[in-house]
Amino acid sequence: MRMTALRVGTLLAGLPVCQSVFADWTVNMTPGVTSVSRDIYGLHMTIFWVCVVIGIVVFGVMFWSIFAHRRSKGYKPANFHEHTWVEILWTIIPFLILVVMAIPATATLLRMYDTKEADIDVKITGYQWKWHYDFLNEKFGYFSNLATPQEEIHNLANKNEHYLLQVDEPLVLPVGKKIRFLVTSSDVIHSWWVPALGVKKDAIPGYINETWAKIDEPGIYRGQCTELCGTNHGFMPIVVKAVPEDEYQGWVQDQVAQAEKLRELTSKDWTKDELIARGEKAYNTTCAACHQPDGSGAPPTFPALKGSPVATGPMEKHLHTVVFGVQGTAMQAFGKQLSEVDLAAIITYERNAWGNNTGDMVTPKQVLDFKQSQQ
């Protein structure tokens, strides 16, 4: 009702509310699809109504004064300025309300912290600006990147329904199982938040935070990074796809098979053109956020690769920079983040794109050898 009034009001005011966009008037927290998220929702509504009632009482008295005790109505002021009993009362009553409020809050908090006896462990690692999901029990993992096209972000194309909340590879989880999330970061602090799961946990370099969820209903649940993590903080969404147990098992088998296929790719004989083609794709998902699609970078934090001494100089130095990163700068060590195939493809691409015509290439096997020689 209230929202209808607001909508009418908006229209009457002639505000240019664009109806083509997928707007709605969600005004409240989602109850979510886990028992924890429902508990949180319950707490939220309880404390909200407590505040509403206190507000009605306090503002009621105040508005009564504003209405009735005006000089313009000839009201003569009283002269009281203290009342011990009243003062004690309005100290104690709020205190008691708070104690009553603290009890369910404590119970919920204890439940949220109970990560014991999980069925599945998923390690979540935040990167600038993407998420990596590791299925620790099944030994596979993958990155999840923003899938919204740049044209939509820059208003060159119509925005789709899930604008900014869509990824290339969602996190697939089974319903009805207790999933433990181990949350960490490889660079700055991120925060992994899916409202429908009632889960928000900071991803902090050097820490592994634990939290958990047991999803009740299959569905697609969307969230975002909620800790400012640099330029593209607004562009690292989270999509969780909750599926029935058997569908999940099928998906796991596919993932394991794919991981195996990737290992085979490493030993394959690659041509330079194949590597450059693969490298361009991998570069755009992994490197372009900082070094830009045209290799121009954003100096001084993110140097240009176009014509850079590293990308046009000795191969050894280039490999070292990409695999081990550069200490004390924003350049991460990509050796563990990317497969040998992608490392080789990206390096080969960087050495042959944007006028960096070195003409040389590096194969996945050579990358593997390089990594092993450095250990």
């Binding site: 969600t26 105040m62 009281f80 709020p94 900014l164 700055v188 370099p205 909620t226 400012l228």
Partner: protein, 528 residues
């Protein structure tokens, strides 16, 4: 004590202010320095506000239209820093400079030359901070909370300038705090015991202690950053054995008392204004003083409620949740006392009263959302969303800023000797009130619906509320130019103000003529 004041008096009473720029550059007079603080603060308010306009313009519609994400982050960072350290804090120091000596019957601040120094550091500090916008790599882009390692390993080169600017602001604040304490404890007129002091003086005394306690902590944390960036230490670098969470603990140990630094003087000012326009003494003076003391003490043990999602042990979560909820008790006492002061008064609604009443209502709404945020499990859903943005803008805009506007209208006649234009002032109030609520109320909905803060672009379901919010923000921003006009008009002329323009006002400041002469209370008044 009075002997010292007497010699001072014979030296200076016979001459007025110096001429030209020297009057301001070498100012030691509390009124001149107060004026400079207020002018500086309003300048910063407009600068920080125009950055907010950039932010709201970009957020007017989904998609990137006006600025790139990198610059957007610089805007949110600079907006926060400038509003906190440049607009709100100096405004209250300006009010303290002007009013504390007048309220306690002192001839000036206790340490006038240090007073000059603590003001003149500020323009230099902010010139340094704002200059980072023009540097290679841009201004600080890590939010006003500058969490490591985003601000250390991953920060732009201008971070070093930001660190020095923070150092200078800190020194200025500490000196200001020392000056306030020295003035209040030593220069009160005979007969003015501590429990007879106006509440504005009380709240500033407590605020000054908070400043002295926490500004060095801020200096410490930025120094640790400086060491990490330039001298190879690893305080906050996990790769070197450091701890990024340590940064947050140290920062918020400063940061939480800081939010009370920004609100307690407003509590004090409102506690002067509400009784004046209710024509009735303040209800529960003693409990007001104790409540402010309790809030200040509790502010030191609640810092980690800003960090409920960092993965603290559950015992820590519970401790900080309980302590945070406790703050609602003394805060509630204050609100109840203000309402009880109004109750059965004889109310009129001039501009200061309008701002003060709006302060009570809207600050209480901000307090309610604060109470909701204190519930740790629920905070997992609220944390770092627009719900938090709504919350702290509700306590800072109608809290701190409306408190400052109320004070300005209340004391403008005393400062300028003229009455301000009441019709324009009421227009200023209503437009600010509408604009502010339109800008910040929808943010509650946005946060609950799942919009994270500090993002330059958002999903489509947030579009309508963002547009409303932006329109409200533009209205609020434009309205502040009206305030500038009202003040300039009042300074230049207008109806002559009597010594006591408000019939219900009490206090020593109304015993001196309007405008207050350059030197007041050369002989201390007697307080009975």
């Amino acid at each position: 004590m009075s002997a010292v004041i007497d010699t001072h008096d014979t030296e200076h009473a016979h001459h007025g202010p110096a001429k030209g720029i020297r009057r301001w550059l070498f100012a030691t007079n509390h009124k001149d320095i107060g004026t400079m603080y207020l002018v500086f603060s309003f300048t910063m308010f407009l600068l920080g506000g125009s950055m907010a306009m950039v932010i709201r313009s970009e957020l007017f519609q989904p998609g990137l239209q006006i600025v790139e994400p990198e610059f957007f982050n610089q805007m949110t960072t600079m907006h926060g820093l400038i509003m906190v350290f440049g607009a709100v804090m100096p405004a209250f120091v300006g009010l303290a400079n002007w009013m504390i000596p007048l309220m306690i019957g002192a001839p000036d601040m206790a340490l006038p030359r240090m007073n000059n120094w603590s003001f003149w550091i500020l323009p230099a500090a902010f010139a340094l901070l704002v200059s980072t916008l023009f540097m290679d790599g841009g201004a600080p882009n890590f939010g006003w909370t500058f969490y490591a390692p985003l601000s250390t390993t991953y920060g732009p080169p201008s971070t070093t300038f930001f660190i020095f600017a923070i150092h200078m602001m800190g020194i200025s604040s500490i000196m200001g705090g020392i000056n306030v304490i020295a003035t209040i404890l030593n220069l009160r007129a005979p007969g003015m015991t501590l429990m007879k002091m106006p509440l504005f003086v009380w709240t500033w005394l407590i605020t000054a202690f908070l400043l002295i306690a926490v500004m060095p902590v801020l200096a410490g944390v930025v120094t640790m950053m400086l060491m990490d960036i330039h001298f190879g230490t690893s305080f906050f670098n996990a790769g070197g054995g450091g701890d990024p969470v340590l940064f947050q603990h140290v920062f918020w140990f400063f940061g939480h008392p800081e939010v009370y630094i920004m609100i307690l003087p407003a509590f004090g000012a409102v506690s002067e204004i509400i009784p004046a326009f209710s024509r009735k003494p303040l209800f529960g003076y003693a409990s007001m003083v104790y409540a402010v003391g309790a809030i200040a003490l509790l502010s030191f043990v609640v810092w980690a409620h800003h960090m409920f999602t960092v993965g603290m042990p559950v015992a820590g979560q519970l401790f900080f949740m309980y302590c945070t909820m406790l703050i609602a008790v003394p805060t509630g006492v204050k609100v109840f006392n203000w309402v009880a002061t109004m109750f059965r008064g004889s109310l009129t609604f001039e501009a200061p009263m309008l701002f003060a009443v709006a302060f009570i209502i809207l600050f209480t709404i901000g307090g309610f959302s604060g109470l909701m945020l204190a519930i740790a499990p629920a905070d997992f859903q609220y944390h770092d969303t627009y719900f938090v943005v709504a919350h702290f803008h509700y306590v800072l805009v109608p809290g701190a800023i409306f408190g400052i506007f109320a004070s300005a209208y209340f004391w403008l006649p005393k400062w300028t000797g003229h009455m301000y234009d009441e019709t324009l002032a009421k227009t200023h109030f209503w437009m600010s009130f509408i604009g502010m609520n339109m800008a910040f109320f929808p943010m509650h909905f946005l946060g609950l619906a799942g919009m994270p803060r500090r993002i330059p672009d958002y999903a489509l379901q947030f579009a309508d509320f963002n547009m409303i919010s932006s329109i409200g923000a533009f209205l609020f921003g434009a309205t502040q130019l009206l305030f500038l006009y009202i003040v300039v008009k009042c300074v230049r002329g207008g109806e002559k103000a009597p010594a006591k323009p408000w019939d219900g006002a009490r206090g020593l400041e109304w015993t001196v003529p309007s405008p207050a002469p350059f030197h007041t209370f050369a002989t201390p008044p007697e307080v009975k």
